[in-house]
């Protein structure tokens, strides 16, 4: 029989069992929708991670105290200078971080502030969109100037950041003049977020905001990705020499590249987990298909006998029932993809990033077809192997 005719015959059979077909497809619908969404969430998650880390220099290494709170033997500016002696290190900057009330026009907002040496800015892609950046003069003369992250400026001014340049704000009740606003940098992976922070000169932070509680971390820039490990070794050696009391043990040395890798890894693990769920759903739905196909073959035993009597070959009976299973699962797959598209806005509502993709659609459909072929084969084979006489005699 020509494939077109066979298909027609199969479609007639399926069409006249609409309800049963639909119920059979439910599992496949859910399974395919899950696969489609898994791929979408995976792609969305990866895009989010990449976006977050896009501004991140993978050669960045952060040295910080291993414990929070008061530190007996803190890092110092001197450590940063010593790190620079290493051939593997391009830059090393001490920075101070704190958090507190930032007040502008009687509007108070709890956020973080970061005290940085002025050179830090150009080495961390911090460029101003308005006003100017901090400079060496500010550092030397301890000017109480602040440059705001884009998001913080937005929040403080309720969406009208340009008005804040030249105005005064207070950080933990100390007055600062805003001299500029940085461009948006996105999450760098090394700090809470630059966009939400206020930046002041290092010396100013030390003197006015943190005083003796100053407990810097040092951000180090390796000369390249490949020297990150050697740089870490150099840092460890230096710390062991300069902080004899506790050595390098009391500090944590993080490199951004491995953090990026870890974030990507965890996104991938999440996708794999969801994929496993989808596969389980499809297997269960496949067993459902197999069950229904067995019932169908049983129901149509006499018909199969008749078809054999009028000349249907085994291969043709097999193809007919296999095709029926595959079409049922393919219909489920298509409906599943459509369901998946409807589910994406819902995920976005719950702030799960999801990107629909062709590969997700294809993967979902391929899996649904595989389910149909795999679980439809045995019942179809059973049908094909039926003895024509027994089948004809079946009531």
């Amino acid at each position: 029989m020509k494939i077109k005719q066979l298909l027609k015959l199969v479609l007639i059979n399926i069409y006249q069992n609409k309800v049963r077909t639909f119920l059979t497809t439910l599992g496949v619908i859910v399974g395919t929708a899950t696969i489609f969404l898994v791929v979408a969430i995976g792609a969305g998650g990866e895009a989010q991670v990449n976006e977050q880390y896009s501004k991140l220099n993978v050669g960045t290494i952060i040295v910080m105290p291993a414990q929070r709170g008061k530190v007996v033997d803190p890092l110092t500016e001197k450590d940063a200078e010593l790190f620079m002696a290493s051939d593997n290190i391009a830059h090393a900057f001490p920075i101070l971080q704190g958090s507190g009330d930032i007040n502008y026009n009687n509007f108070s907002f709890n956020s973080s502030f970061i005290a940085i040496p002025p050179e830090y800015q150009e080495n961390n892609n911090l460029t101003v969109q308005q006003g100017r950046a901090l400079d060496d003069e500010d550092e030397k003369k301890k000017h109480k100037y602040a440059v705001l992250g884009a998001e913080l400026a937005n929040t403080l001014t309720d969406g009208n950041p340009s008005e804040i340049v030249g105005s005064n704000i207070s950080i933990n009740r100390r007055k600062f003049e805003v001299i500029g606003i940085f461009n948006r940098v996105g999450d760098t992976g090394s700090h809470s977020s630059y966009d939400d922070s206020a930046f002041i000169a290092y010396s100013v932070g030390e003197k006015y905001l943190l005083g003796t509680r100053a407990n810097p971390i040092i951000t180090v820039q390796a000369t390249g990705l490949e020297t990150v490990q050697s740089a870490i070794n150099d840092i460890t050696n230096t710390l062991n020499e300069t902080h004899r009391m506790g050595g390098a043990e009391q500090f944590r040395i993080l490199d951004a590249g491995s953090r990026l890798a870890a974030a990507q890894e965890s996104a991938r693990t999440m996708s794999l987990l969801l994929l496993a769920v989808a596969v389980v759903v499809l297997i269960v739905s496949g067993i459902g298909i197999m069950n229904v196909m067995f019932v169908t073959v049983k129901e149509r035993t006499k018909e199969i006998g008749t078809l054999k009597a009028i000349g249907a070959k085994k291969r043709e009976i097999l193809s007919q029932f296999l095709l029926e299973a595959v079409i049922i699962s393919l219909v489920g797959g298509l409906l599943g993809v459509i369901l998946g598209f409807f589910a994406i806005p819902l995920l976005k509502y719950f702030e799960l990033p999801a990107l629909p993709s062709i590969s997700g659609i294809l993967l979902g459909l391929i899996f649904s077809v595989i389910t149909g072929v795999f679980f439809g084969f045995y019942p179809a084979w059973k049908a094909a192997e039926l003895n024509p006489i027994d089948a004809l005699r079946y009531e």
């Binding site: 078809l307 009028i310 000349g311």
Partner: protein, 229 residues
């Protein structure tokens, strides 16, 4: 004319034994028969006589335990599964007691099936099916499903399906068994007419009234053939 006619069925010393556990049941015992082209033959026997088994063997739905069977010169015992399917498709037209129409297909789709299994184009199959259905007076019922047709009409659709591929042999198993007397009579008239047009027809039945309408009757009882005429 009959003397020179081609031998459609040449069965020799057919034995069929069913193995039921350790018990062997000889259903057909040394059956031989020749059926010539253009014959109209009734195989008559009570239930349990082995006539259904004989019909299955003649129809190439089953193979004998021993013996020889040539259908239109072809050695059936040497044929493989697929070849048997082809033989059934091209050389034999089946008519069943319960019509065995496919319930979800329309009359014309049912009749087209044997041609489609032969690989015919849809349009050609449709034309032939329409022609046969019209011939059997079902020109107005082409797109009806079996459940929308009377028993007599269903059997006529089944007969149309049996002859649509111009088989060498029409094999009918109790074709009147599920019909009222009027429809039975009609069906027999159709078979007679088909025979007049040159079709070879074999009817298997336990109904003596059917047998009385034809010249050649083969009696079967306890797996053996008696009294041929």
């Amino acid at each position: 004319m009959i003397e020179n006619a081609k031998c459609i069925i040449d069965a020799r010393n057919i034995v069929k034994i069913y193995q039921n556990g350790s018990e062997k049941l000889k259903v057909l015992d040394d059956v031989s028969m020749q059926i010539l082209e253009g014959d109209f033959i009734v195989i008559l026997g009570p239930s349990g006589s082995g006539k259904s088994t004989l019909m299955n063997l003649l129809g190439c739905l089953d193979l004998p335990t021993s013996g020889q069977y040539y259908l239109d010169g072809l050695d059936v015992l040497k044929a493989k599964d697929n070849q048997l399917a082809e033989i059934r498709n091209q050389k034999i037209g089946f008519v069943f007691q319960k019509f065995n129409l496919l319930p979800r297909l329309t009359a014309i789709q049912n009749v087209m099936l044997p041609l489609l299994y032969r690989g015919a184009k849809e349009e050609e199959a449709k034309e032939s099916a329409k022609e046969k259905l019209k011939l059997l007076g079902l020109g107005e019922r082409l797109n009806h499903r079996p459940n929308e047709l009377s028993g007599g009409q269903q059997q006529r659709v089944a007969i149309a399906r049996a002859i649509v591929g111009n088989p060498h042999l029409v094999l009918a198993d109790e074709p009147t068994g599920n019909l009222d007397s009027k429809s039975s009579k009609d069906a027999m008239e159709i078979f007679k007419e088909l025979n007049r047009q040159g079709n070879t027809i074999v009817i298997i039945t336990h109904d003596i009234e059917v047998a009385e309408q034809v010249k050649k009757v083969i009696y079967i009882r306890d797996g053996r053939i008696y009294d041929k005429n």
